[in-house]
Chain length 388, copies 2
Amino acid sequence: MHSADSIELQVSLLLFVALAGYMLASRVRQPAVVGQILLGIVIGPSLLGWVSYTPLVSNLAHIGAIVLLFVVGLEFRLKDIMRWQFVLIGLFGVLAPLLGGYLVAIAFGFATHKAMLLGICLTATSIAITADTLREMGQLGSVTAKAIIGAAVIDDVLALMALSVGNQVIEGNLLLMDSLLLLGKGLLFFVGGAYIGQKYVCRLMILIDSSNLAKKYRELAFIFAMMMAFLFAILAELFGLSAIVGAFVAGVALEGVKLQHSKDFKEGAEYVRILFAAMFFVSLGVLVDLSALDRQLLGFLFVITLVALLTKVVGCGVPAKLLGYSNRDALVIGLGMAPRGEVAMVIALLGLNLGLIEQPLYVVLVLMSVLTTLMVPPVLRMLYQGAE
Amino acid sequence: MHSADSIELQVSLLLFVALAGYMLASRVRQPAVVGQILLGIVIGPSLLGWVSYTPLVSNLAHIGAIVLLFVVGLEFRLKDIMRWQFVLIGLFGVLAPLLGGYLVAIAFGFATHKAMLLGICLTATSIAITADTLREMGQLGSVTAKAIIGAAVIDDVLALMALSVGNQVIEGNLLLMDSLLLLGKGLLFFVGGAYIGQKYVCRLMILIDSSNLAKKYRELAFIFAMMMAFLFAILAELFGLSAIVGAFVAGVALEGVKLQHSKDFKEGAEYVRILFAAMFFVSLGVLVDLSALDRQLLGFLFVITLVALLTKVVGCGVPAKLLGYSNRDALVIGLGMAPRGEVAMVIALLGLNLGLIEQPLYVVLVLMSVLTTLMVPPVLRMLYQGAE
């Protein structure tokens, strides 16, 4: 019963640490994710060594990442967010960090494909963390908040696409034609997947929902939706994209489905997310081996974190200012886009799994994510308080 | 990305087969579990070979079994069911199949420890399947139904305890003192676990629920409850019991908790159960290797299935008759207790994992479970229709 022993032990330990992460995060007034990652580092091999990144932990984390991106997708209302101003802010909010991260990495002597992955890691904004910070300050309804969230969403989509393309490009062949082809394939999957999903998968779900079987077994639509998340993940990989992109597109496609007889599949997905994303965040910390950090990498961490902040403030703030926002609002928008959070970590983890980057760089990227996330809430709070 | 590939593929395939299982089951007017196991056999190594029992599938199934028993525990209201009549029906409903199964197995030349496990497998009644059959016939509110469900619950508790004791006893030492000691330990864990759980764990949950942290993060109590399920599973193993017994006790302990601010942890556990128990049931079929069945085992399957039916009909029906139920009601009670369903399979799986039984006997036990489950609903329907 050794394997059984260890599965219960590992699941309950991961959940316990996730709970403790909430408490720690609340103490230091940070989002829960931050507490969970930090405690993950503590129980991981670099400090206590209670949990290591076994295949089981990796499987749980993988399910967590898929379900997380599916649920994020479910929160997207394409119509509300697809405004050209937001697209513009989001676009520059991706290009600036992509270029900035790439150039800095090259300047520090990293190989092209690593520099590329670094750039991609800097692109993503964590919607969850930004939205949560604004919610805590009672600013979720403001125009600025809408711009931030809209642009952050565009930003995440672009980051996921950059990841999809980058996935292939960073293998070595940086030919322009190939990149364009892959970008095309990525776009095709995004648009095609969302279209087919909204047109056929949703219809199928409604068909299931109105069947006699679903009236008897109200859980059918939920199982179907979760199956779709994993199926789209496979399809994304067949298109050369990353699996989480597929789960995200599945979520976007199913966002508008209204069911009558079935259990609420969104609520179900949310419960599964709560459990598995918490284990995923802890596992991200477990993967961090602090002993990999040397003096030179610490320097690089400092620079790349600074670049991560500045490229968002400039890349989003300047377009916002040009679009007519006030100085303060433009600064808030830029800063509000700075927390990298989970998406950057998912990308870094992918790079680690693919063997594109090694432990030291992975640790730098995770810490950069944590640091940008830690820095933004207090600064935003100051900006809003200064204005009152 | 090979491991990632395969995790999405396997999860979506298992969920797809689970869905198809609902459809198949509905076509042949059987509970969903039956359809899922049958299709699991189809996609398993003995027929199509699409899915094999990899460590990943095993992990998913293990999580499913833990969450399933936790949710079953959450449905137990100890007070409603602990009536002496039900205890009596349940007790004889366990003793008769235990003895019957043991004797038949010995007669067929099986070793003592295998005969013991066989007996234990015959004891469990599937509450889910019985309740579902009665619900479909609109008989859930009847006195007979209450007796069946009450006795089935007692029955399951006794079966789980027999399993816990058996787990150790079947290792070889059948000393009476040891067995009594283990029975004592089992009882201690049951009573102590449920008591400590209801007294302290519930209080802790209510404390969490009323904290400021839980008002901000409404998912805390849910994560805590799930952690407890896995923690009790570990504790059960430390007491020499099986892990699922622990999850069950955790469920019983938390049944009465009423929370005010948090998300509904019972609903959350139910959603997780839906997903993972479905994968668990399919995986039970995947484990069945039909090629292990030869002519002699088919004969044994026939006999053991007959014994499984008769010992419940006699073991529960006779006490019911003596307690004053009519002939038909006593027969309905006996038959209603006959479906073995998931608990028998969990026990058989445990025996397989522990190396106590081999593939052929495991296959016989799973098929016995499926057959008893298949036979009861039509016979019950006939009995009720004949009376109208």
